[in-house]
């Protein structure tokens, strides 16, 4: 058993938790973040990659619009490497009411969201695949963001301030005594070891899982209503700017160019369990139809991968309606002192990735108030290494890097231009990581071949680094192939079927991966892989019920 003692335990390694642990650490508290899987493996890694300009909310939710515009400017500066300043358009498609654009422009002016109407001709010149039947176009400052780089940037910044980040640590119990939190118990899933963290304060940033965590401290049930959204990545950038439909926010009205792909999203369906997110065939069809409205011929382009995320909505009648001091729009803070007579815990729900820094500021302010301390938030003032301060992300950055190291480095993933050194550096940083952990940092297996060529190379290289043995290397290969398939099969059609046929030919046909020796649990148990499978497999992309 391992024992730790800190001022604050942050539970949950999504954007909220990462932003919170950074803020807590920067204000001088000792802190630990615990996350049952990898950072950004939940909702943060399962969205469309949009960094809001605020445009989406100028009519429906003006305060959100203003918050988004301000945070967009801050994040684009302090996390430059995670954010591409693509710009965006709001376009009126055939059949959409062109008068909504007037409401939009008025709302933008009122909320401080930069927006400018451009001619249809200019929009079509800049984005030639756009529906030529659009009637109006408004330019905004939407960007795209890599959720994984964003959370790792915040987590590494927190580490710099002394925080400890414990991934693959599942919370099992929260101790209380005399109406106050005293300790958090976790299991280190990689080592099978129990960890006890003595603490006086818990910040519950579990998102869709926040209710389950609050229950461990004996709080009244927290009504979390996860809202499922599906997204589909198309195999290249159909557009180079974010394209939104200029309508009241609805399903399937955004196409977002992220890295080498473009992502259409999303739906919103209430679900019971955030660990079981289906990708329903009718929702896939709905997304393809929606894409067709923005980009004629959308169905004929190649869909690469689909996934589902759960919005962390909290509907809780015990939240004091008057207490909105410490809240961002769309965000809910549950103060367990008033609600459950439990000191030393706050639960946070709702919110948006774009405003994750602001949410953290509010939550940590609330904690400081409860502790009776004045410590100022400095998170907006400081760049996050290594991606902050400097150039924003551009899609060609890896091409530039490979041009420089082409005589010394092999390209292990041609689709995503990932070099051998990128892989071995990431393996050294996460020697216990699965290939999906590496994928989230490197985009391994996320391009058109979906792991067809890079999986075997990554397996061989991982083994050669000495971090893992042959049995684990082989098990990781199997797990990676299985997990890639979860996001492939719901959208398998057209050219991706050709790719899949080739990939099956390689793995089943030429390599005969299926007939490698099976894992022998009596010889060397692989608890982390076995335990991870049900969670990771389901969370990876959802399963059909």
């Amino acid at each position: 058993m391992r024992k730790l003692a800190v001022d604050v335990v942050v539970i949950g390694g999504g954007s909220t938790g990462a932003g919170v642990v950074r803020d807590v650490a920067m204000r001088g508290y000792s802190t630990v973040l615990v996350e049952r899987a990898d950072l950004g493996q939940g909702t943060t890694g399962r969205f469309h990659g949009l960094l809001h300009s605020g445009g989406r909310y100028v009519v429906s939710d003006p305060l959100s619009a203003t918050e988004c515009a301000q945070e967009n400017a801050i994040l684009s500066r302090i996390q430059a490497g995670a954010i591409e300043t693509t710009g965006g358009y709001f376009v009126c498609c055939p059949g959409d009411d062109p008068a909504f654009a007037d409401k939009f422009l008025a709302g933008a002016a009122a909320t401080g969201v930069p927006a400018r109407e451009v001619s249809v001709g200019e929009a079509l010149r800049n984005e030639p695949r756009l529906n030529p039947g659009i009637t109006r176009a408004i330019e905004v400052q939407d960007g795209t963001v890599d959720g994984w780089q964003l959370v790792w940037g915040a987590a590494n910044s927190a580490r710099h301030y002394g925080a400890e980040i414990l991934t693959y640590h599942a919370v099992t119990k929260i101790d209380t005594a005399d109406g106050a939190v005293t300790a958090v118990h976790c299991t280190d899933l990689k080592r099978g070891e129990d960890v006890v963290i003595e603490t006086g304060f818990v910040l519950n940033c579990g998102g869709p899982w926040a209710g389950q965590i609050a229950a461990m401290a004996g709080a009244h049930p927290v009504d979390v209503v996860p809202g499922r959204g599906i997204m589909i990545a198309m195999n290249h950038r159909l557009v180079n700017r974010v394209v939104n439909r200029c309508i009241y926010p609805a399903d399937g009205d955004i196409l977002v160019p992220v890295h080498t792909v473009s992502i259409i999203g999303t739906t919103d369906v209430k679900v019971d369990d955030p660990d079981h997110l289906a990708i329903e065939p009718d929702e896939v069809q709905q997304m393809l139809d929606a894409g067709e409205v923005l980009i004629p011929g959308f169905r004929n382009s190649r869909a690469l991968h689909a996934w589902a995320g759960a919005r962390p909505l909290i509907k809780d009648n015990r939240v004091a309606a008057a207490d909105t001091r410490h809240m961002s729009r769309g965000m809910a803070v549950i103060d367990h002192t008033e609600r459950d007579g439990l000191d030393g815990m706050l639960t946070i729900g709702g919110g948006k990735l774009t405003t994750y820094r602001l949410m953290a500021e509010h939550i940590v302010d609330a904690m400081c108030d409860k502790l009776g301390e004045k410590r100022a938030c400095r998170t907006a003032e400081e760049d996050m290494p290594p991606s902050g301060a400097g150039k924003n992300y551009v899609v060609t950055h890896r091409l530039e890097e490979r041009e420089h190291d082409r005589f010394t480095e092999q390209i292990i993933c041609e689709c995503e231009l990932m070099s051998r050194k990128m892989l071995t550096d990431a393996l050294a940083a996460q020697p216990n990581g699965s290939f999906d952990d590496l994928r989230r940092q490197l985009r391994l297996g996320m391009g058109p071949c979906q792991g067809g060529f890079c999986s075997m190379r990554a397996t061989g290289i991982a083994l050669e680094t000495g971090h893992i043995d042959i049995e684990r290397a082989t098990a990781l290969l199997r797990l990676f192939l299985k997990n890639r398939w979860l996001g492939l099969w719901p959208i398998l059609y057209g050219d991706q079927v050709r790719q899949t046929a080739l990939d099956n030919w390689i793995f089943a046909g030429t390599l005969d991966v299926e007939h490698l020796p099976p894992p022998d649990p009596s010889v060397r148990p692989e608890p982390e892989i076995e335990k991870k499978t049900p969670v990771a497999a389901v969370m990876e992309a959802g399963v059909r019920s």
Binding site: Q285, L288, R299, N300, A303, R406, F407, T408, E409, Q410, I411, I412, R420, G452, F453, M456, R457, T459, G460, I461, L463, E464, D469, I470, E471, A473, T474, L477, R478, L481, K482, R484, W485, L486, W489, P490, L492, Y493, G494, V497, R498, T500, A501, L502, N504, W505, I506, A508, G509, T510, L511, D512, V513, E514, H515, L516, P517, V543, R544
Partner: protein
């Protein structure tokens, strides 16, 4: 002289073209790409798993149930095809229809196959064999430690285990190049001087009695390159096929293309066949996609050997409909529910068994069991019933169906 158009340049198309030309037909082979041989392992699978590992493939084929494509093409055509292929490429294929080789793959699994290239057969290991797997630092598609350590912990099909270690050799294919493809290496190894330098680079590290496993890059034009390496090392050598581009597959492709050309087959590569004309249940011509309006090829008989989904001969659209993309032939298995399932390790996807139904003369059939066109034949991966990857039977089906189709055409046209 009868005119035959063959569509597709994989194993089925090349064997059919060779056979038809040798039988006196005037053959044009139309293909969009290079054919499927360079995607595969460069051996001839007949039957590998049924679902247990198969040691006698021809006996397994003879005992198959009625739904398998082999039951349409017949074991007799298969045996004739195997013999014919060995005649066509005598330097490249050895083996016995009664006994599979069990050969290591590039992840260290042991894979059954029927005819193999002579450069591979020393990999058919026995208990206690001492093996060293040698990789090249500049070749990213072959990781000798992965191969060696999986092989070492595998029970050999013949019983026992081999003793396997690995070695990584620094040997650029071209000066200053860190990231060379298998084909770049293979071209380098066509040079005897390169082979001698290569052998010298690690001969000192070999232990006595060791069998040397190497990536399948030992020459592409020179079929004896591997013998030269073995001779210089003084050890038996075997090649292990890599993911595409497959050098052993390219060797087969080039040899079969050369023999077809020598027999008078005319190749029109690089252009997709996109249209056809038919009347009175006979195909009159097919059209390839060249400017300005396509070019038509009329013939007395047509062989559709364009493969399956991997080549675009079959297509699944975004609404879940499968079609054969040239003739719009009726498909078997296209209405399976589900067509695709979510368990990667849960067995063959029904989608990849979809194809055309053929009669014993290899003509595609309609729902009533009659030929769709009286002068259209099908061969290879387009035939319904098995994707071939899991069972390791795709090459045998291609071969047997090409033989049967060619012989049926020659008989009808004579």
């Amino acid at each position: 002289m009868s005119r035959v158009v063959v569509i597709g340049a994989g194993l089925a198309g090349l064997v059919a073209a060779n056979r038809l030309a040798a039988g006196g037909a005037k053959v044009v082979l139309l293909s969009k790409g290079l054919g499927g041989l360079q995607l595969g392992q460069g051996t001839i699978d007949v039957f590998g798993y049924a679902p247990e590992r198969v040691s006698n493939p021809i006996r397994t084929v003879q005992a198959l149930p009625g739904t398998h494509p082999y039951t349409r093409v017949g074991a007799t055509n298969l045996l004739a095809g195997l013999a014919y292929l060995k005649e066509l490429v005598p330097d490249l294929l050895v083996g016995d229809p009664e006994a599979n080789y069990q050969l290591p793959t590039a992840v260290g699994a042991i894979r059954p196959t029927c005819l193999a290239q002579p450069s591979m057969v020393a990999g058919n290991l026995g208990a206690g064999d001492r093996v060293v797997i040698v990789g090249l630092r500049q070749l990213k598609d072959f990781h000798p430690q992965l191969v060696a350590e999986n092989l070492a912990r595998t029970d050999l099909p013949s019983g026992g285990r081999a003793k396997v270690r690995h070695l990584l050799v620094d040997f650029p294919a071209r000066e200053g190049e860190i990231d060379s493809s298998a084909l770049t290496y293979a071209r380098a190894f066509d040079d005897p001087g390169v082979r001698e330098r290569f052998a010298r680079a690690f001969i000192g590290e070999l232990e006595s009695d060791e069998i040397v496993g190497l990536p399948a890059v030992l020459g592409v034009s020179d079929p004896n390159a591997w013998r030269h390496v073995a001779e210089k090392l003084g050890h038996p050598v075997f090649e292990i096929p890599l993911p595409p581009p497959s050098v052993p597959g390219i060797r087969l492709n080039e040899a079969l293309t050369a023999s077809a050309k020598a027999a008078g087959v005319r190749f029109v590569p690089g252009t997709r066949v996109f249209d056809f004309r038919a009347s009175d249940r006979r195909v009159g011509s097919v059209t390839i996609a060249v400017e300005p309006a396509g070019r038509e090829f009329a013939a007395d008989a047509f062989v559709l050997a364009g493969g399956g989904f991997e080549s675009g001969a079959l297509e699944l659209d975004s609404h879940g409909r499968v079609r054969e993309t040239l003739f719009g032939l009726p498909l078997e298995g296209a209405d399976a529910v589900p067509l695709i399932h979510g368990d990667y390790w849960g067995g063959e996807q029904p989608l990849f068994t979809v194809g055309v139904r053929v009669g014993s003369d290899l003509k595609p059939l309609d729902a009533s069991g009659k030929p769709v066109y009286d002068n259209l034949w099908a061969a290879g991966g387009i035939i319904a019933g098995s994707a071939g990857w899991a069972e390791k039977c795709g090459d045998g089906i291609a071969l047997a169906s090409a033989m049967a189709a060619a012989d049926s055409i020659l008989k009808e046209l004579s």
